[in-house]
């Protein structure tokens, strides 16, 4: 009896179970959120604009704070990012 069942289970696992699992994860991966090329371009531009705006705003805030000592920009209360970057070390 065992000689019959063992090959059947092995074949079942190998040719049904394994592809099933693989297909399951492939479909999962395909339905996961992805972005198209246009979305990517848009996001790239938005990200770039946001960074530019932030830099400009920082400059403006610094100028205003220098002119008016009683002005305290919102960003000053936050943690200032250190210019030291450990990945750029020699």
């Amino acid at each position: 009896m065992e000689e019959v069942f063992l090959p059947i289970t092995i074949v079942g696992i190998l040719f049904v179970g394994l592809p099933w699992v693989i297909m399951h994860y492939i479909t999962r991966w395909k339905t996961a959120a992805t972005i198209t090329g246009e979305d990517e371009k848009l996001l790239d531009e938005l990200y770039y604009t946001a960074r530019q705006l932030e830099e400009r705003l920082l400059t403006v805030e610094r100028i205003i704070a220098a002119d008016n000592p009683d002005f305290r920009p919102l960003s000053a209360s936050r943690q200032e990012q250190s210019p030291f970057d450990i990945s750029r070390r020699n």
Binding site: A33, T34, I35, T36, G37, D39, E40, L43, D44, L46, Y47, A50, R51, L53, E54, L57, V60, E61, I64, N68, F71, P73, L74, S75, D85, S87
Partner: protein, 124 residues
């Protein structure tokens, strides 16, 4: 087309052909764990993964120089590849932050002008 969400071989940080470092660059996982996993898989699958490795090395393009301006941008695009909606929310929150700070500046100037006007009124 989609230049920044493609898979590239990372020859600059490569140990052998740059597949593992490319995967590390793509996913943000440390390259060493991918390499250890690769070696482990090479034994576990008795050579199939080595074949796949060479196939990827042959098919995937090299990473173009100057793709990102700085590590911050690289990290941002790593986030986009793994979860675009979260990165979009991140950009939106940056814009909101800018808006809030601008509103703060605007408030400061407008309220100061009213104070100035009050002083002028009191001098009359």
């Amino acid at each position: 087309m989609s230049v920044r969400t493609k898979f590239y071989l990372d020859k600059q940080n490569a140990k052998f052909l740059g597949v593992c470092s490319g995967l590390a660059d793509y996913t943000g996982i440390e390259a060493i764990w991918l390499r250890v996993g690769m070696v482990f898989l090479a034994f576990a699958t008795s050579g199939t993964s080595v074949f796949i490795y060479f196939l990827i090395a042959w098919l995937a393009p090299n990473k173009p120089a100057g793709l990102y301006q700085g590590p911050e941008e690289e990290k941002f695009w790593q986030g986009v590849r793994s979860n675009p909606s979260r990165s979009t929310a991140q950009v939106r929150s940056t814009f909101r932050d800018i808006d809030r700070r601008l509103a703060d500046i605007e408030m400061y100037y407008t309220s100061r002008n009213t104070r100035l006007a009050d002083e002028i009124d009191s001098l009359r």
